[in-house]
């Protein structure tokens, strides 16, 4: 399952960054857990896992992201 930044979490044309991954590769994630914090124009958003599984991070901290982007996988 993909961990995806929800469409419409913020206005499409702005880039945000992943400020913090709260878990590391290989960690077991439960559905509903906040797995990362995103920062957009000094505002913080939570990224919530919509399923459970073992985390595989695809986009590292400090990297620019946009709504709709897949940033990790849950296996």
């Amino acid at each position: 399952m993909d961990v995806k930044i929800p469409e419409g979490l913020w206005a499409d044309d702005n880039e945000g960054i992943i400020s913090t991954w709260l878990y590391a590769d290989g960690d077991q994630i439960a559905e509903g857990a906040v797995v990362a914090e995103l920062m957009v124009e000094k505002v913080t958003h939570d990224l919530v896992a919509e399923g459970s599984g073992i985390l595989k991070i695809c986009v590292s901290e400090e990297s620019p992201v946009k709504p709709g982007m897949i940033v990790a996988k849950l296996k």
Partner: protein, 351 residues
């Protein structure tokens, strides 16, 4: 962004069996829970309102509690910290944020001559139950007036408690304890442990945090890694340097015990002495200036209370007695690191 994790509206978060928080969020959650329980608690400081704090310590509080209880102040520490001291002496419980500890110079009279002493001056009839939370620490090239920690400066002056968490669990528990303490508490948080991204993120500072309210008692250090050959004492970020060093030392056959101070004042002398007597060797890791500080105090403690047990002279890994440089190369060279701790430990044990 939601901080309101203990109410049913926020089902996504509270449904999670485990929940990991950064220190910033853990602090905010503690403040929110205490504010719900006690209407005399208010928050004030620069950018603590709509912005939620430049180090994300008050995210969401303005939306929940409104401008009467979460107040943005002008850029005048002497005014708003003085105001907080006045509020605390007249029945309120203010939490005031000083954005950088380095700014204490303009408001220190309110802190050390009034907040710290008023309880004594009034024969105990007028305590000052305030929390002054403030960011500390360098490592990101912000120059000499935005990078200090100044643990020793505040610890030296009697009448204030001083705490600094190394992880989110302790941050939440210490914040609740600080808010409910009758004394002024200086709550320091290290910028590199806030989980802000642009300040670097130390993995070990992000921990599982209970949703319900709890306290970590002020005045208790924690032994977070057991060892037999040497005691490494750290606080805030240097705890993480010490843990990294302990892992490296283990590969070299040296068993290091790691103590996280958690509270600087009152210092947990019992816990420290117990460990120093056991291992006979002590290195204090302190990102404050080397002389006249927390490291010096703990070394003095070792000679006063554990002298006969010492197998070698205690040592410290600290910032040399010069202002913290802006240059990243120079700053990195001067700040404590795990490599410096490993080198100091090997030298101590070889001798």
């Amino acid at each position: 962004m939601t901080i309101d994790t203990d109410t049913s509206e926020n089902s996504l978060v509270s449904a999670a069996p485990t929940r990991r928080l950064t220190i910033a969020k853990a602090m905010t959650e503690a403040i929110a829970q205490e504010m719900r329980a006690d209407s005399s608690i208010i928050v004030l400081g620069e950018d603590v309102g709509k912005l939620g704090g430049v180090f994300a310590t008050t995210q969401g509080l303005f939306a929940e509690f409104g401008p009467d209880r979460v107040c943005d102040t002008p850029i005048s520490e002497s005014a708003f910290i003085g105001a907080a001291v006045g509020m605390a002496t007249s029945g309120m419980r203010p939490i005031v944020e000083m954005m950088f500890v380095d700014f204490f110079g303009v408001c220190m009279n309110s802190i050390y001559n009034v907040a710290a002493k008023n309880c004594y001056f009034s024969g105990g009839s007028q305590p000052v139950p305030m929390v002054l939370m403030t960011s500390v620490g360098g490592g990101y090239s912000d120059g000499g007036e935005h990078s200090q920690v100044l643990y020793g400066t505040f610890a030296h002056l009697p009448g204030m408690k001083v705490v600094i968490p190394s992880n989110a669990y302790d941050a939440k528990g210490l914040m609740s304890a600080a808010i409910n303490d009758a004394n002024p508490v200086i709550f320091m948080f290290h910028k590199a442990l806030q989980g802000m991204g642009w300040l670097g993120t130390v993995r070990g500072s992000i921990t599982d945090v209970p949703i319900e309210r709890y306290e970590v008692p002020i005045g208790q250090a924690a032994m977070i890694r057991e060892g037999a050959d040497i005691t490494l004492v750290g606080l805030g970020i240097t705890v993480h340097h010490a843990l990294e060093a302990a892992s490296e030392l283990q590969e070299k056959g040296i068993s290091a015990e790691v103590i996280d101070l958690r509270t600087v004042v009152p210092l947990d002398r019992d816990r420290l002495v117990q460990s120093i007597r056991k291992t006979g060797r002590l290195i204090v890791v302190d990102d404050d200036y080397q002389s006249f500080g927390v490291a010096s105090e703990i070394m003095a403690l070792a000679s006063e209370l554990a002298f006969k047990h010492l197998r070698s002279a205690p040592a410290r890994v600290a910032h040399p007695d010069v202002p913290i440089p802006f240059s990243p190369v120079l700053e990195r060279h001067l700040l404590p690191s795990s490599a410096k701790i490993v080198a100091a430990a090997e030298k101590m044990i070889r001798n």
